[in-house]
Amino acid sequence: MAYALQQLINGVTLGMIYGLIAVGYTMVYGIIGMINFAHGDVFMVGSFLSLIALLGLAALGITSVPLALALTLIFAAGIAALYGWTIERVAYRPLRGSFRLAPLISAIGMSITLQNFVQVSQGARVKPIEAIIPGGIQIMDQGGFAVRLSWMQIAIVVITMSILGIFTWLVTKTPLGRTMRACEQDLKMASLLGIDTDRTISLTFVIGAALAAVAGFMFLLYYGVIDFYIGFIAGVKAFTAAVLGGIGSLPGAVLGGLLIGLIEVFWSAYFSVEYKDVAAFAILIVVLIFMPTGILGRAEVEKV
């Protein structure tokens, strides 16, 4: 019981991170119908940016933890947003309206580029940092097994929830969100009605990249160690989460992320750590076979 509760806590924390990345996938897929393959690597870049910001702030002598967290978050999200904008502008926009495979190959190329760019510029070694918020609280003790909820986990969940809250407000209440939803429903019609679709798509990439950077920051805080290769596996799992929740659906992405996080943690705890990636991928395949629209997705009507 205590063991399961601990896994639940860990799974929710991990699921939050996957959910944040999955939102970026699902938004882009919803609007332009492509898998932004480089999104996982934007997450990795965001993670590195957070590391650099934390080290820079430490070098400047800023010791207040909340201030450091806030500044890092803004810095990483801002620069990652610039990365998202540039990637869309350079690699995807020239290929809009081109045939289906071209943007995908371009995205794979972008993913390889980002990975190797970070490897070349920051080195191939893993980057460890000390825990920024040490300690935690003990919830229960059962037969010598203590269930711990660390401050870090609380911080991750709180930050993620507030970022998602802001994001939900952005999508549902602002004019920008309205144009985004319009573009998602029908890109051509939206452009006929005077919506600047290019700008909306750019902003979608910007927001998605910023969310991925927040996820990268949380990943750095949670695991305390990153390298240039974390983007690939995290990206595929987050895409799995987006598909599981129903691609195109924003709450679905978060829900899917939580499920994938929980499945991965419970699988590692009760079956085998080695095959945890297999579990996530196997679930992707099973979901697509039996529930191709995902949990909260709409069925795609095929017009001939």
Partner: protein, 441 residues
Amino acid sequence: MTALRDAFLSALVALGLFAPLVGLVTTSGEHGLYLELRPIATAVVVGLVFLGRLIVLSRRSRGRAASLAAKPALAERISKAGKYVTPLLLIAAVALPFTGSRYYIDLGTLVLTYIMLGWGLNIVVGLAGLLDLGYVAFYAVGAYSFALLATNFGLGFWTCLPLAGIFAAFAGVMLGFPVLRLRGDYLAIVTLAFGEIIRVVLINWVSLTNGPNGITGIPRPTLFGLALSMDGGPGTIAGFFNVEPAVIQRIIFLYYVILGLALLTNWVSLRLRRMPLGRAWEALREDEVACRSLGINVRNTKLTAFGIGAIFGGFAGAFFATRQAFISPESFTFIESATVLAIVVLGGLGSQLGVALAAIVMVGGLETLRDFLSFLGDQMNSPLFSGIASELPLYRMLIFGLALVVMMVLRPRGLVSGRTPSVALHKVKDIAPDLVAQGRG
């Protein structure tokens, strides 16, 4: 003037992008990580972006009208020249070992392996239009089934080759079954997941595959029972032909094996394209709904595409295992799938010649780049470049990724865009209205 302003803005964006990641390097010191400043490198990168943007803009404003007229001409010229290029390439491929240079034969073997993989994947992606991002899984299945059969049961290469193909085809059908209903990008992500599952299993099933350490001592192929061995005894190739045994003989022999296998792949796919099955693949690529309504069995058509594509992947894998004499899961990462897919897409999806040209450009280019970069690294002995010289070979994959993006942006349809069906009605016939009357068709 606007060009200058535009270039300046690009440089500003580049500064935002590269100042944190290039300018501030996380370096491990005594007390954990610290940041190391690298202003010169940042300035160089930003300057390059500025100049590059300026050059692109000036070229664009000058050559817009000219390039528009030239573009379709190039694709047409390549496909027209195909008649002459194909035999030339074939002669060059057969004649390559006569150069006697070990370097070129090794490079040729590598390029031919990718050409074969490209042609195999072309059946799935180019003909049937099923986007497969996990093709490396079949390559791995082929390599491992040959390696395991050879090391555990002492079977030879030629016995195992068809078995490796069968196992790979089985894996292909196994993957094909669940994904029958999926299309497009969903299919891509599932095949990607399948490739990763195979790799994770190979790493973790230590009792069978020896895990990350891989399998060593995989035997070389024989020539009609004659072994490739250095001792020159009666049962070996060197002994039979009464020549001095040398390493180059093995390399040349392996080169001709892969050349034969690649040509077999080409021949089979060319024949298949003319068969009803191949035509069904091409129809499926164009419109699945139309196929279904015309009574084509979509399920079997897709499964055969996966299966036959996988067979050639398995063959190539078995060859890879016998050439390297050592395999480990590291050789079967996603980057291989991406490379092969890029070759197929760049080759123009469906064009046999295009795939061969794309493989030569990409794999040959990548290897040449490797040599060039290490050569460049050796030349830069001056202290000014001390930091970058040892890292230069790492830039290879960075340049590869950028090249993929640039090639897609410039030529999204590939080098040779051959989407014309293999079998087409060549003459357009006018049918008089009285013939179309009822009962006549």
